[in-house]
């Protein structure tokens, strides 16, 4: 099991459970750092004081009101959203790769993100409010997955393959529809809004965005973590699962349902952030191996940390926001290549 890395790179050897715990704590540590970083300069000490001020206002008595509001009203909800959304993408990507037994699928395999993109685009075109856009994205995400899922029931053959195919079909249907909406959109206002949404952003996060996202994401994450070893069995195949006392069909339906809700809740707030759900599971496997008991928590931690890092760059580097969809690749690919070089493991 030990990776066959050259001796020179084996400086620190950590046990896999330890790595899992580090990966799970990493996003919290990063979140603390991210709280202190932004376009507006607030010192680390002041940030800590501000964060303690809800407990006792005396801690932040001498700090300007603007700084307090920035940290508590603007940065805090955005950082929490990044953590939840990143964790959701990481875990759902891992879950989908397990049930489809395919390392090249991600959360969007059944069209949830594409459907949500269409939902958001149509709401933007109809001049919907912020909330209407989110709700429309969420509902169309669910609709897309329902179409893929029930569509695959029409055809009696190897269900997994048909489901994958239906996912691809539904996905391309919705991307065509989105392209049509973009074509119809007013180039002065709705078109840039749609484009920006499709590239993903956490700019508009407020505390009001969080309760629904947190409820869905946390429930789903706990559920996946609890499933843990069952993913291993499911990824072996239906026959093996049955012989081990698990109903693979029910289990897969539950996982797909949970993952769809989580992804839809995440993208309806963040816009389309592809990639994370595809790559984070691979990064996780390189670090903790293919056992889902460890992989699920590892990808939760990695996903959260990665999206937080990306969003930090997006909001703090330049006066203008950089779309997340631009940064995931720019930052993620070098990171992943570095990991590949370090751990030449198979998965």
């Amino acid at each position: 099991m030990a990776p066959s890395v050259p001796l020179t790179e084996r400086k620190i050897r950590l046990s896999k459970p330890a790595i899992v715990w580090i990966l799970l704590l990493l996003p919290f540590a990063l979140a603390m750092v991210a709280m202190t970083i932004g376009r507006y300069q607030i010192s680390v000490l002041d940030t800590v004081k501000i964060l303690l001020s809800p407990i006792s206002p005396a801690y932040a008595g001498d700090i300007p009101e603007v700084a307090k509001r920035l940290v508590l009203q603007i940065r805090a909800p955005r950082i929490l959203a990044a953590l939840l959304i990143g964790a959701s993408f990481g875990a759902t990507g891992t879950a989908f790769q397990a049930i489809f037994k395919n390392p090249l699928v991600d959360s969007n395999i059944l069209g949830v993100t594409t459907g949500a993109g269409f939902g958001a685009a149509i709401a933007i075109l109809l001049r919907g409010t912020h909330w209407q856009i989110q709700i429309s994205a969420f509902l169309f995400g669910l609709l897309a997955v329902s179409l893929s899922f029930f569509g695959s029931r029409l055809y009696k053959a190897t269900p997994l393959l048909v489901l994958t195919l239906m996912g691809i079909l539904v996905g391309s249907l919705f991307s065509s529809l989105t392209a049509l909406l973009k074509y119809m959109a007013d180039p002065l206002d709705s078109l840039p809004a749609i484009t920006f949404w499709l590239l993903g952003s956490l700019t508009n996060i407020t505390w009001r965005s969080l309760p629904v996202l947190a409820a869905i994401a946390l429930t789903g994450l706990v559920f996946f973590w609890f499933l843990g070893w069952r993913f291993n069995i499911i990824s072996l195949g239906d026959e093996e699962a049955k012989s081990l006392g698990i109903n693979p069909v029910h289990m897969k339906m539950m996982i797909i349902f949970a993952a769809t809700l989580m992804t839809a809740a995440a993208v309806s707030i963040s816009g389309v952030i592809g990639w994370v759900g595809l790559v984070i599971p691979h990064a996780g496997r390189m670090m903790v191996g293919p056992d889902h008991k460890r992989l699920i928590p590892a990808t939760i931690g990695l996903g959260a940390a990665f999206l937080l890092l990306i969003d930090l760059i997006a909001r703090a580097l330049l006066p203008g926001e950089i779309p997340l969809g631009v940064l995931t690749g720019l930052v993620g690919v070098p990171l992943l290549m570095g990991l590949l070089r370090k751990n030449r493991t198979g998965w």
Partner: protein, 474 residues
């Protein structure tokens, strides 16, 4: 083309009325004097005096008399006989009904545009007379241009370089124009070329108020196909061919240029992204449409410069007056205008500083933290794309910005074309913002300039109610 039957009918009626008048009323005393002035010009002067009742010379009563320099009489005779079916004009030296003279230098301060039928040559009616008004309208119309081209007074082919740097040879006069670019359409309206449009893409005429106002300005607006078929991105070739335009005007960044050129119709490209480019656009489009439109374009440019200079002067006479920091937010509150955009020029011309001038490109997405750093004293939102003042003022998060907490968020007004876009109307955006930023020192007011602008350039008698609705802050 539509007007022709009506016009011919009017002319026939007028002629028959005239003939009836001639035959039924007793002939007045008409003396024909032949004078020779210093330049040895023979001028026919006729005197119509009621008390002189006996006449021995029997000639027709002219419709009206004209005073013109001798070297313009050929052109005027051609126009006159073309419009009045072969009749000849009567030129006199003193007390004419219609004065033809060299154009005075166009005043900058709220310029008056006289009917200009040849470059720098204007027609000024001295009495109130329908024939004269019709004649003037004819003289500056494409039909009048056609007459002047035939006698060589105006060029048949206009060689002109468009704003994409392409040299074009354009047959004059232009009768049917297709404008596939909103700012160009606004320019065409403000240089009196609107009745030659066969299809046009508009700025700000999609929302109900904009469409209603546009219909008041131009009753043909509902029938003019445009916005959906012709824009920077799209161009319906079949539809365009059916409209038989003899000039197509589009944006230099249009995606369709090469294919549209296959229609064999000249494609004139404009680029109006900055104030300087907009000035050029106005003058070029004016030139395309003929002497009168050119004079009107020149008047607009002078007026635009005068507004900017006046604000600048009044501002600089008050050294203590600060330059407020302004944020121009877009269709989304966190989408802001970059330094390259026209909105930044408007803010600077109005005596403010654009906080987001450091950004480049088009609209930029920013976060609230960045807005906190900019700390604008004033936030302006545009009159399109569903932007609402309340979206910002009622947002809990935006209360972090002092100007929001103090209600310093305002929506840029518009009648049809938004005042923050590169259209002639944007001169009013500068006035409006200057009045808002420096109410104590800037003497121009939104109300007076709006009244002047739409009456002068759009030939639209804007009502007091409309002005009130436009110029009242939010």
């Amino acid at each position: 083309m539509k007007n022709n039957p009506l016009r011919i009918a009017t002319v026939i009626i007028l002629i028959s009325l005239f003939l009836i008048g001639c035959t039924s009323t007793p002939q007045g005393d008409q003396t024909q004097l032949i004078e020779t002035d210093n330049d040895a010009i023979s001028v026919v002067e006729e005197v119509l005096e009621e008390d002189v009742s006996n006449s021995d010379i029997d000639i027709e009563i002219p419709r009206f008399t004209i005073k013109a320099d001798v070297n313009l009489q050929g052109e005027l005779s051609a126009l006159y006989s073309a419009y009045f079916d072969g009749e000849l004009p009567v030129f006199i030296m003193d007390d004419p009904d219609l004065l033809v003279t060299a154009a005075p230098e166009i005043a900058a301060e709220r310029p008056v545009v006289y009917p200009t039928f040849l470059p720098d040559t204007i027609l000024i009616p001295q009495i109130d007379n329908e024939d004269i008004d019709n004649f003037i309208q004819f003289a500056i119309s494409p039909d009048g241009q056609q007459v002047l081209i035939e006698i060589g007074a105006l060029p048949e082919i206009l060689v002109i370089t468009d704003q994409a740097g392409r040299q074009l040879e354009i047959h004059q006069p232009i009768r049917q124009v297709l404008s596939a670019y909103g700012p160009a359409t606004a320019v065409i309206y403000s240089v009196n070329g609107w009745d030659r449009l066969v299809a046009a893409s508009y700025l700000g005429a999609r929302d109900p108020q904009g469409a209603e106002a546009m219909e008041r300005i131009d009753p043909r607006f509902p029938e003019l196909v445009g916005d959906d078929l012709f824009s920077q991105q799209e161009f319906d070739l079949e539809e365009a061919a059916a409209l038989e335009p003899n000039l197509i005007i589009g944006a230099s960044r249009s995606s369709w240029i090469e294919s549209v050129e296959q229609l064999g119709v000249p494609v004139f490209l404009v680029e109006a992204e900055t104030a300087q480019q907009l000035r050029e656009t106005a003058l070029l489009i004016g030139e395309l449409f003929g002497p009168h439109s050119y004079a009107q374009a020149q008047a607009w440019v002078n007026y635009f410069d005068w507004v900017i200079d006046t604000i600048q002067k009044q501002w600089s006479e008050n050294p203590m007056e600060p330059k407020p920091q302004v944020l121009f937010s877009g269709t989304e509150p966190l989408r802001v205008a970059s330094g390259d955009m026209y909105q930044t020029e408007i803010i600077e011309s109005a005596g403010g500083i654009s906080v987001s001038a450091e950004l480049s490109g088009y609209w930029n997405d920013v976060n609230l933290e960045q807005v906190v750093i900019w700390d604008p004293e004033l936030i302006i939102i545009p009159p399109y794309g569903g932007a609402k003042v309340e979206t910002i003022t009622e947002s809990q998060e935006w209360q972090i910005i002092d100007s929001v907490a103090f209600g310093q968020v305002f929506r840029m007004p518009k009648l049809v074309a938004p005042w923050d876009t590169p259209a002639p109307d944007s001169v009013l955006g500068i006035v409006w913002l200057a009045e808002l930023l420096h109410p104590e020192i800037v003497e121009l007011t939104c109300a007076s300039e709006t009244n002047f602008f739409y009456n002068t350039f759009y030939n639209y008698a804007i009502s007091g109610d409309e002005i009130g609705a436009i110029c009242t802050l939010n």
